[in-house]
């Protein structure tokens, strides 16, 4: 991959945003974009969940929407989504959640959620990707974020948080398996590095920074 993105975010056929009586999903899609997610992924994930649950009531659609927002890369809905998934699986909607997340079976959902609570960068295909999770940044001239390549990076004490330096600017990266957010960071507020199995990889010849998790042998 030579552009920013998440390896777990396998390409799927884009679906239109479903229409539900009594629920304005366009507002939700707008908020997903506001919170750093991709509205098209949101629509596709939600439509996939509703394929096999066409009579879902408003309450269940709201639950699917919260999970879809997280699946679309909006990090702000991560905790809500994990809670909602537990409830959906408990009420027998594991298959819908699997379709929403792009997992093969309902049993994979339980494994996925369990792993996510311990490791926010886990997904079933990570080992095959040699531990690489996502690439962030990219050259601004090609639609990325940075005008200079990253030269220094390290993990911060908070889960999924990293500090990355490009030229004389520090950035804070917040990320998980589905989404990431880069924001300028005040150099003076830069916290100390933290020891973790997750590292951020930068190379001299790339405008991308890679989140990498050391897989257990």
């Amino acid at each position: 991959m030579n552009h920013p993105g998440h390896l777990a975010d396998a390409a799927r056929e884009t679906r239109a945003l479903p229409t539900i009586d009594g629920l304005d999903l366009t507002v939700a899609a707008t908020n997903v974009r506001r919170d750093g997610g991709d509205p098209a992924t949101f629509a596709t994930a939600l439509a996939a969940a509703l394929d096999t649950d066409p009579r879902a009531g408003v309450e269940r659609v709201v639950a699917f929407a919260a999970v879809s927002a997280w699946r679309a890369g909006a990090l702000a809905y991560r905790e809500e989504a994990l809670r909602r998934i537990d409830n959906l699986v408990a009420s027998g909607r594991g298959e819908q959640v699997a379709r929403l997340l792009g997992l093969a079976t309902a049993s994979e959902v339980s494994v996925f959620v369990k792993e996510q609570h311990a490791d926010r960068f886990w997904w079933p295909g990570r080992r095959d990707a040699r531990g690489y999770v996502c690439a962030v940044g990219g050259f601004a001239g090609l639609g990325g974020t940075w005008t200079a390549p990253p030269t220094e990076a390290y993990a911060l004490p908070e889960p999924g948080a990293f500090a990355i330096r490009t030229a004389d600017q520090w950035w804070r990266l917040d990320a998980d398996v589905w989404g990431s957010r880069l924001a300028p960071m005040d150099l003076r507020a830069k916290p100390a590095p933290s020891a973790t199995a997750t590292t951020i990889v930068v190379t001299e010849d790339s405008y991308l920074a890679w989140v990498h998790v050391q897989e257990a042998a």
Binding site: L23, D24, V27, A28, T30, N31, V32, R34, D35, V62, A63, A65, A66, A69, L75, A76, Y77, R78, E79, E80, R84, A140, W146, T147, A148, E158, A161, T166, A167, D168, Q169, W171, R172, D174, R181, A183, P184, M185, D186, R188, A189
Partner: protein, 522 residues
């Protein structure tokens, strides 16, 4: 026919510095975004800014630059000119500064040659406060050599002048412009000195007096802003501006010239006979309540510790001048000036000093408390306008030159202004002031003040209180203070930045000495 004026942009805003991702709920996912129901005031001010620069005054200048990373810089020509392409939203000072003045209720001096849109910008501010363009235009006070105090403030009622037995019985027909939220004085350097003094009372004290009657210029205690225009701020004009009035200008900003590439728009306006102030979109008008809330919101933007320390370090450079007096505390530029001396000569007389290392030697005066307060307010306004949660060094750096222009005066005999391209700084005061702050921040970093600031640590120690501090501990602190003084003395050099540190150490020494004396008696 479409209304070509009525296009309010969805302004690009600079994201706040990150502190992690706040978690949201499903309710938040379906909540109609605020901007669809009620535009936040900072967004409204940004929309106003973009409407003015894109529609009203045609100002394609971005001299207030912000960059998240290294901006692209191009060298142009063979005389050291560079063009910078910033990475973040950057702004046009001749619109932004008046707009921030409007927001905080400040006083803005706009300078520049005739026909550069100074009065138009000021009138736009009046319209933004809710006045009609005709009323605001009528309220503009045109400076001219015959302007009397009565012309400015109003006249006593003739019937009262005849019938009154005392001054208290004379009613005054006050001029209507006095109580407008936006007050505009055109060409204030053409106003006679006596009338300028009356103006000073209004600007400084918020009231006007005539025939023993007082009239408040801001009776509702709302947000009041002042806009002055002048063709220059270097002493030109029919009458010299009295220093106290000049000092009251919170910011000074230069009007930009017209960019010839935008001639088509100008032709369109001439053909249509339109003025921008007649077409301000209604949704950009700020009512009194919004205006007050906007000012209150700006004041609450925090100035973090790191920014305060850099600002504190910068301010410390300017008051001290070696040979300014005999006693240590009197070695200040103010001592020289108030005694009728020339600061530049005193600086020159200090032959042992390394003038290039002493930033304070580049100025002939120190900074007033008023200027500092203004700088803090405008830095907060800048941060708020950019959508930041707190003031950054970049916000201070952006506002500082406009606040200190005309207040922090360059020392023309300093060697810096004699060297090659640096000579340009004698006429480009804004760049000089910006450079001065950058230089100070570099010194701050080089001295490691962020990590190690013993005087700050000693002050913090005292701030924690003296309750329970034993005589032995107080004596230990006294020894530490003396050791700090010795450390500065041992360098053999004395810079402006040391002056405040040494006076602070003396203050601390006094406090602990007094405490020890009290403890011995108790």
């Amino acid at each position: 026919m479409s209304d070509r004026w009525h296009k309010v942009s969805a302004s690009p805003t600079t994201p706040a510095h990150s502190g992690g991702v706040a978690q949201l709920s499903a309710d938040d996912l379906f909540r109609v975004p605020d901007e669809q129901t009620h535009i936040p005031l900072d967004e409204k001010l940004r929309q106003t800014y973009y409407w003015i620069v894109n529609r009203a005054v045609i100002s394609p200048y971005y001299d207030i630059e912000f960059s998240s990373g290294a901006p692209l810089v191009y060298s142009l020509g063979d005389a050291g000119a560079t063009l910078t392409l910033p990475t973040d939203p950057s702004f046009s000072s001749n619109v932004l500064l008046p707009l921030l003045t409007f927001a905080v209720g400040g006083k803005c001096l706009m300078i520049g040659g005739p026909g550069r849109g100074k009065t138009t910008v000021a009138v736009l501010m009046g319209v933004l406060a809710g006045g009609t363009s005709d009323d605001v235009r009528r309220g503009v006070q045109q400076g001219q050599p015959q302007l009397t105090i009565s012309d400015l403030v109003g006249i006593p009622l003739p019937r009262d002048l005849i019938g009154a037995a005392s001054l208290a019985e004379i009613g005054i027909a006050w001029r209507g412009w006095l109580t407008r939220p936006v007050k505009i004085i055109d060409e204030y350097n053409r106003i006679p000195t006596k009338t300028q003094s009356a103006l000073l009372t209004m600007v400084a004290e918020g009231y006007v007096e005539s025939h023993d009657q007082m009239h408040k210029t801001n009776p509702d205690r709302g947000v009041e802003s002042w806009f002055f225009t002048a063709n220059d701020d270097a002493g030109g004009g029919t009458f010299p501006v009295i220093q106290a009035l000049r000092d009251r200008m919170d910011v000074t900003v230069q009007a930009a010239s017209f960019n010839s590439r935008f001639l088509d728009e100008l032709v369109t306006r001439v053909e249509a006979g339109e003025k921008p102030e007649e077409h301000v979109p209604a949704e950009l008008i700020f009512d009194a309540d919004e205006h007050a809330r906007m000012r209150a919101a700006i004041r609450t933007v925090p100035v973090p510790e790191g920014v305060r320390r850099r600002l504190e370090f910068f301010l410390g450079h300017f008051e001290f001048v070696q040979h300014g007096g005999r006693r240590f505390e009197y070695r200040t530029k103010d001592t020289v000036t108030t005694a009728g001396g020339r600061v530049a000569e005193v600086i020159d007389a200090n032959t042992g000093a390394d003038l290039s290392a002493d930033i304070g030697a580049q100025t002939i005066n120190g900074l007033s408390v008023r200027a500092l307060q203004t700088l803090i307010v405008y830095a907060k306004a800048m941060a708020w306008f950019r959508g930041a949660d707190e003031v950054s060094v970049a916000d201070v750096s952006a506002m500082l030159p406009f606040v200190l222009r005309g207040k922090l005066l360059p020392n023309p005999t300093h060697p810096r202004f004699d060297i090659g391209a640096e000579r340009e700084l004698t006429t480009d005061v804004i760049s000089w002031l910006r450079d001065l702050f950058d230089e100070s921040c570099q010194q701050f970093e080089a001295l490691g003040r962020e990590q190690d600031d013993p005087v700050r640590a000693l002050l913090a120690q005292l701030d924690r209180g003296l309750d329970g501090v034993t005589a032995v501990e107080a004596s230990r602190r006294l020894t530490e203070i003396e050791s700090r003084v010795r450390a500065i003395a041992s360098t053999g050099k004395l810079y402006g930045r040391d002056f405040d540190d040494l006076t602070t150490l003396k203050y601390l020494h006094q406090r602990y000495t007094a405490y020890l004396a009290w403890a011995a008696r108790a």
